[in-house]
């Protein structure tokens, strides 16, 4: 693994759809990002690089380059830190790729789905959260924002697909005149109840204009222009991305500090966990062990695994899940015996992450 330092400078080769002119972003003052987090972000660079490389190798046919992937995820290290909990004996460096890969996976999935979506389908298939983000980024003020949101709710109530989409890409077309009428009637009749008492009555044309704008803003929001590493990160306006790239001296000091922090107790915890899981692994049948090894050691995809094992992909998927389930059961037992009770449901996910991290680590040794 090469030491990775600010190698890409400006990324120019990215073909992002540029619709930024539609957006008027109003930066608001945000609390300064803590230096500790910057250092940790730097510390995680290796994980970012590794994840980006793995993804780029896998999807060489897509339009993205290694640099794009790296840039996409290196601004997401906050996710890693948010979810990380060292109490279950996990290690930040092998935990990070799991989270980052998930992020990247999700990003690619979204891009693919959005590419085939008609504007009006996209409007239906956007979450309330994102609608709010899109409107705020477009500079829409609080009152008007609620009006847009409610017009969107009315649209979703009236404009539903009338054909069974089964298998065919859903191409919801522009609502017809009569549907615009129904959307408008619904909006106007409920506006005082849903919005403020002063909310104005809108015509069908006005509703149509607003929702058309909204669809354009959604696309623009989803295809941002990422033109350089000098881009300001949302929520971290006083520092640029470059600032969080590694300073070699700081990195090595930090690494040392983090290494030191791996206290005896944690070491012990890890070795206990290792012994239990290794024993659990040995108890699995040969096929299950082979599938796990091929997946985690050779990084085969489920489809590649299916070809290699002469099984269907759903079978591979099921076998992988069953194998992990058996190990997870062991891990849960040992956690339960340590603290004398099952962790709360909200803490359980750490146990699953600990297992995945352990499997990654175990097979890469």
């Amino acid at each position: 693994m090469p030491k990775f330092r600010n190698r890409f400078g400006r990324c120019t080769g990215i073909k992002w759809q540029s619709q930024a002119e539609l957006l008027t972003s109003a930066p608001s003052p945000k609390p300064p990002i803590p230096t500790g987090q910057q250092h940790l972000a730097a510390y995680l660079q290796e994980s970012c690089y590794w994840t980006a490389q793995k993804t780029a190798a896998r999807f060489s046919q897509l339009e993205f380059t290694l640099a794009d992937y790296f840039q996409l995820i290196s601004s997401e290290t906050g996710r890693v830190l948010k979810g990380f909990n060292p109490n279950f004996g996990t290690n930040l460096k092998s935990y990070a790729p799991i989270v980052l890969t998930n992020y990247l996976k999700d990003y690619l999935r979204q891009r693919r789905a959005i590419d085939v979506c008609s504007d009006w389908s996209l409007l239906r298939k956007t979450s309330q959260k994102r609608i709010t983000e899109v409107l705020s980024q477009a500079g829409i003020g609080a009152n008007e924002l609620e009006e847009y949101q409610f017009a969107w709710v009315c649209f979703k109530t009236i404009a539903v697909p009338s054909q069974n989409p089964d298998g065919a890409v859903e191409k919801l077309t522009q609502p017809e005149m009569q549907q615009w009428g129904a959307i408008t009637d619904l909006y106007n009749s409920k506006r005082h109840q849903q919005l403020s008492s002063t909310a104005a009555k809108l015509t069908a044309e006005q509703i149509e204009v607003r929702l058309t704008k909204l669809t354009r803003w959604i696309r623009a929001y989803l295809y941002p222009t990422v033109d350089s590493l000098n881009k300001t990160k949302p929520g971290q306006e006083q520092g640029e991305i470059q600032d969080s790239l590694a300073d070699p001296v700081a990195t090595s000091l930090l690494e040392a500090a983090i290494e030191n922090e791996a206290q005896q107790e944690r070491q012990q915890q890890r070795s206990q966990l290792h012994t239990r899981l290794a024993a659990g692994l040995a108890e699995l049948d040969e096929t299950a062990q082979k599938i796990l090894r091929l997946f985690y050691q050779e990084n085969l995809s489920q489809q590649e695994l299916a070809d290699r094992m002469a099984m269907s992909q759903p079978t591979v998927s099921r076998r992988l899940k069953k194998a992990e389930e058996a190990l997870l059961a062991k891990l849960l037992d040992s956690v339960r015996s340590e603290v004398n009770k099952l962790p709360d449901p909200s803490e359980l996910k750490q146990v699953s992450l600990a297992l995945k991290e352990w499997l990654t680590f175990y097979y890469r040794q």
């Binding site: 896998r58 998930n102 298939k125 979450s127 099921r318």
Partner: protein
Amino acid sequence: MFATYFDATDWTYTIPSQLGTQAWQHSRRQQMAWAQWNAYLNQLCLDGCLQFFKAEGWPAAAPRLVGMDQRLADRTWAVVNGAVITVGEQRVALIPAEAIDQSELEVPQEWIDIPSWAADYYLAVYVLPDMQTLQIAGYATHQQMKQQGQLNISSRSYYLDVADLTTDLNLLQLTIGQHALSQTRAAIAAPATLADVQAQNLIQRLGATTELLPRLEVPFATWAALLDNPTWHEQLYRQRQGEATTGIVTQLAGWMQGQFDRMWQSADQVLAPQQMAISTRSVAAEPIEAMIRRVKVIGVGDGQVGLLVNLTMVNEQELRIDLQIHPTGDSIHLPGETQLRLLSMEGTEIAQAKAAVTETIRLQFRANYGETFQLEIRCNDRVVVEQFAL
């Protein structure tokens, strides 16, 4: 596609085409466009999840996986998104969503704050019918939804960031039923009480087919009280389906004391002699005098049918009920092919019978004092519902 490259355990499934076709057909039972689409997504989500959980031997431990009563599902999807299944004692709500950005789990407030609706777990299920894919993004407990989720009072939903969900369903499978109620549930208030008159008024108002967003129309507490009662919920559904319900429950116990509503006439006033003869033919085991016989004329579209109720006391607790459908007046045929269904007040089917125009219908059963039931008469695409209490 991408999921299977990276993660050993992803809960993404291909929806068999047949499931999609069935769900689509079922969903056409709903009257309103939104409800049709909502029912379609939910049916896909429910059938798909059940099929996949079973295929994966889920749960591995003993508790039984039970789906949702179809009638309950239908009346739920007419107004709210989401379904519920049970695993042993645990209730698991399946909340489908179409959003491409899988950024949050949106759970309608009904599933959180109505005691009889609340679940232990909430699954975020992304249904992508155009890709024939169903993806379970993760789950959260009732407690998490209440404590970490945000309630939006305009949309009346709780929102939880996907980052807060537990993505590994193996965990749910391994631990379901092992947590105390205090670990999965948060406290919620008991529903407000609603007088029957008030409920009937609400059903008339919110059941109007012109009311497109009934769940947002009245204060949540009122709406919750209405839905908390399965009988009212069922009536609301009937109303929204354009199926006539009077909301009047005929008190059969009163009949034993000679109290009849004027709508219920004596049999010979309504039925022609020929029909009278048919109506008593196979009840011969009972002396006709020991029987209380009343008929109500029920309009179905342009035509009408007579609903005859024969009541016989069996003992102190039990009554025998003999229900018949006859042509009325001089007509010798029913106005069309007719179906009679006996349902519980919550809409679960107990029995049914069908008849061609030239026939009559008879349905006999015993019931105890204090019990309730409803009859659904379907003729010429019109549906009329009559409710009874003993």
